[in-house]
């Protein structure tokens, strides 16, 4: 079965989409590559793509992220070149891309064991009453 995957690089990664494309062109695998601004799309047989994904990930294990895509690259039903705007799924990628550098750094420092960060809690009612009384007095 033909599958399509996105390969997305963190903005702090030293690997460029063109590096990934060149790696695929130079590999023995039979896959279609489409370069985008945030990474590349790869399309091919499932076994081939799974092997290729492992090799691509080895370029920067903490800085490269892989996501499945339903439609093949350039499919007229989704291609933004034909529809005139960003396709619906792009906004999710765009938003998650903003936190990719943090996730990359966390993956790179996986050995460190951290205590769970304390969650910010809302102000207790009693304290709020005290503040209100102080402010009004």
């Amino acid at each position: 079965m033909l599958v399509t995957k996105y390969v997305i690089t963190s903005s702090e990664s030293n690997i460029l989409p063109s590096d990934i494309a060149m790696k695929i062109y130079g590999s023995k695998y039979d896959a279609t590559v489409k370069e985008t601004c945030f990474g590349v799309m790869i399309n091919g047989e499932e076994e081939v793509i799974n092997e290729l994904v492992k090799e691509i990930r080895s370029l920067d294990p903490a800085g490269i992220f892989i996501k499945d895509r339903g439609f093949p690259p350039g499919d007229p039903r989704r291609c933004r070149g034909r529809s005139g705007g960003a396709r619906p799924g792009f906004y999710m990628i765009e938003s998650e891309s903003k936190i990719l550098p943090m996730i990359s750094r966390a993956l790179a420092s996986e050995g460190e064991v951290l205590a769970a960060a304390e969650k910010k809690r809302p102000l207790p009612i009693g304290r709020l009453e005290e503040i209100a009384k102080e402010g009004l007095s």
Partner: protein
């Protein structure tokens, strides 16, 4: 290897972390792919046949908006297949196919009532939270068979 459903069901970060740690991430694009790349497209362009609304009816009543039933036709079978779940609440950027709030409520409810192990998280806002986020996911996935 466990089959792990992620919420938001189109999340790149969650699906990548699940696959990276040796499990199978159940995501919507895979369900979409099965539909749109079939060699025998019966109902172009997206191949939504009369069977899809019927699948959706298993999860939502007929008077529920068709968008919910249509989405559930794709997400419902994934939930049934799942053996564990990672839920990130309030992502704040759910748009497009994942942008229906009623569907999202139903998806979270069905995951929670299924009785599978669920990890609840929120997206990190700084480096310390990101480390905890990754560690929690790693520990959760490590505990799955």
């Amino acid at each position: 290897m466990a089959k792990v459903i992620v919420y938001p069901p189109t999340s790149m970060i969650l699906s990548d972390l699940v696959e990276r740690m040796g499990h199978k991430a159940l995501v919507v694009p895979e369900a979409v792919r099965k539909l749109v790349t079939e060699s025998n497209i019966q109902s172009p362009p997206l191949n939504m046949t009369p069977e899809e609304p019927k699948k959706g009816l298993r999860y939502a009543a007929v008077d529920v908006p068709s968008g919910v039933r249509g989405r559930m036709a794709l997400i419902g079978p994934i939930i049934e297949e799942s053996e564990a779940a990672i839920i990130v609440e309030d992502p704040g950027w759910l748009t497009g196919c994942a942008g229906c709030s009623r569907t999202n409520e139903l998806v979270r409810l069905l995951i929670r009532t299924k009785g599978i192990p669920v990890l609840d998280l929120s997206y990190p806002t700084d480096d310390a939270e990101a480390k905890v986020f990754v560690q929690k996911i790693k520990a959760f996935l490590g505990g799955l068979k």
